[in-house]
Amino acid sequence: MCSATCAIRSYSYFKMTKKTVKKFIAPIISNREIAPGYFLLDVKMPGARQTVVPGQFFNIKITSGITPLLRRPFSAHKIEKDAVKILYKVVGQATTMLRDKKCGDTLDILGPLGNGFSIPAAGRRGTAFLVGGGHGVAPLYALAERLKGHTDITVLIGGRSREHIIGAGEFRKLGAEVLVATDDGSSGHRGFVTDILEGQLRRIFDAKKGGVLYDRGYTKNDAHTRRSAAVYACGPAPMLSAVSKIAEGYTTPCQVSVEEYMGCGTGICMGCAIDTTSGKKLVCRDGPVFNGKDIVWKT
């Protein structure tokens, strides 16, 4: 019986340095519906590509008034040279007001905030599994863009039905393999996206029982060509919990982007606390990206 620890080698990571936070007034370039209920907001942010790390978020004041009172956090979906695209779903009062914003309107934005995904060091070969539930795919596109060329990318998207599968085409354009799961089977696998992940990791795991997986044509003497895998996920907490446990079962490193109600987004109010193996952590300051195994999951 092969020990799980030898199956898949983990990535080595850059240490992401914390970038400066700033508040800016951003003109809206466009704000359009890309699927029923899902919108893509494009705002100007000079130097975005230099400053924003995939997985980081922006805390946006949608109106200057007191309704809604607090800022709302949104992750960066696409990071361009001087602009940031934000993918959001209209769910409540704040996102309804955001939907009505037009080209030329401005938004008061604080960010980029938090710690993004750790990107594997250049030159490392392997497969990155990007798992998104619903509009949880939002930060994964920016991540896929950064991973492109470093690793093979497989994107796993889950949703209630076909209409809730967002961004599949965009990921394919990047050259990623896209696998879909829907609750009702209206697109792709019928069931959970985590079923697909489990199958994918098992395939890699089984391919070289008792050893690591090598690139085709190489032997274990070529240590630098060892295959590696990593999982990155964003979506509802039960999905993240399941993804994290599956990844841990295959000793695959797993980063998850967590959502929690936030007061300030800057670590001051201590509102977005979650339980981790090393005590309470703040999603806005210590996350939103955490190692899956560090979180004490409730489900």
Binding site: T20, V21, K23, K61, I66, T67, P68, L69, L70, R71, D108, L110, E260, Y261, M262, G263, C264, T266, G267, I268, C269, M270, G271, C272, A273, I274, G279, K280
Partner: protein, 311 residues
């Protein structure tokens, strides 16, 4: 140039704006987001003797024109404050008020005595009014110390013995008569009152039938509570002689001026900092503009000038 200087006990502030406890961290966290030099003083996040984990999530929910919080005094304790937080506080221009909460008289005294030994600390604010923890001070039918006039007086007296710093008592609006508690604090030796802490509230998610906060109830803050806060400080200003520091939903310069007219010598900015870390400097500019327009030389001449305030 308008005179914005005010005094509270032995504490002189260059302007009447104070960052409220729990909305400004220990200064350092905010320093990378805004310029601290515009503030008259900063009240630290409340420290307790031992570290506290705080309440279960969710801890924050937005409500109409306000927010409910249930943080539960999460902090790393006195030792961490002394070793890790003071270093930064020593460097800044704003005066430092340390907010403390104890589980016993002895804890209150230890906290007060220890922070009084620090050169950078200008005053102590007694947090007797956090609605998200139940006090363990003495057998009492009240959940908060500041709901119990005897307990309030006892804490103020005990701390008074241990410090010569300006002592500020933070009151809760969750009482029948706030002036009763305010007078008890004044008689026990408090140099000033701070009002109000948050109002106990509840928010329910009808889809699940569950409360939106982990601890069910939480403290309401933001513009929604401003009228209640104004009423409280106005009542206090007529009942006590010591200065009052007003807070509750101040978002703009005119909000702050309302509190000053109602009888406050200084005001605390809280929830506004969550939305805009630079809120205080904007509020200060708006106050200056108002004073200039109305040819008011000294902000002190505006304190407690509410017209038609007869009984």
């Amino acid at each position: 140039m308008e005179n914005l200087k005010i005094t509270i006990g032995r504490l002189t502030l260059k302007n009447p704006l104070i960052a409220a406890s729990g909305t400004f961290g220990y200064g350092e966290e905010m320093a990378r987001l805004c310029d601290l030099s515009g503030l008259g003083a900063i009240v630290t996040k409340t420290i307790t003797l031992e570290p506290r984990e705080g309440n279960p999530p969710p801890r924050i929910v937005e409500t109409p024109a306000g927010m409910l919080n249930s943080i539960g005094l999460e902090n790393k304790g006195l030792k961490d404050f002394m070793f890790n937080k003071v270093k930064f506080l020593e460097k800044i221009d704003a005066r430092i008020i340390v907010s403390i909460a104890g589980g016993s008289m002895a804890e209150f005294q230890t906290l007060a005595e220890t922070v009084s030994g620090l050169r950078c600390v200008a005053a102590i604010e007694l947090n007797l009014s956090c609605p998200n923890v139940i006090h363990t001070l003495q057998s009492s039918r009240y959940q908060l110390i500041a709901q119990d006039r005897k307990a309030t007086a006892a804490v103020v007296r005990a701390v008074r013995k241990k410090t010569r710093l300006t002592l500020i008592t933070k009151l809760t609006p969750n009482v029948t008569d706030i002036t009763d508690i305010g007078k008890a604090a004044e008689d026990a030796g408090s140099d000033a009152l701070s009002a109000i802490n948050t109002i106990l509230g509840l928010s329910i998610d009808i889809r699940t039938g569950k409360p939106r906060l982990g601890r069910i109830v939480g403290g309401l803050s933001g513009p929604a509570i401003k009228p209640v806060a104004l009423r409280c400080v106005w009542q206090l200003s007529r009942a006590v002689k010591i200065p009052i520091i007003g807070s509750g939903g101040i978002m703009t310069g005119s909000d702050a001026l309302e509190f000053i007219i109602a009888g406050c010598r200084a005001v605390q900015i809280g929830t506004a900092h969550f939305i805009d870390p630079e809120a205080s400097s904007k509020i200060l500019d708006e106050i200056k503009t108002f004073l200039r327009k109305n040819r008011i030389r000294d902000i002190m001449s505006l304190v407690g000038t509410l017209a038609g305030k007869g009984d």
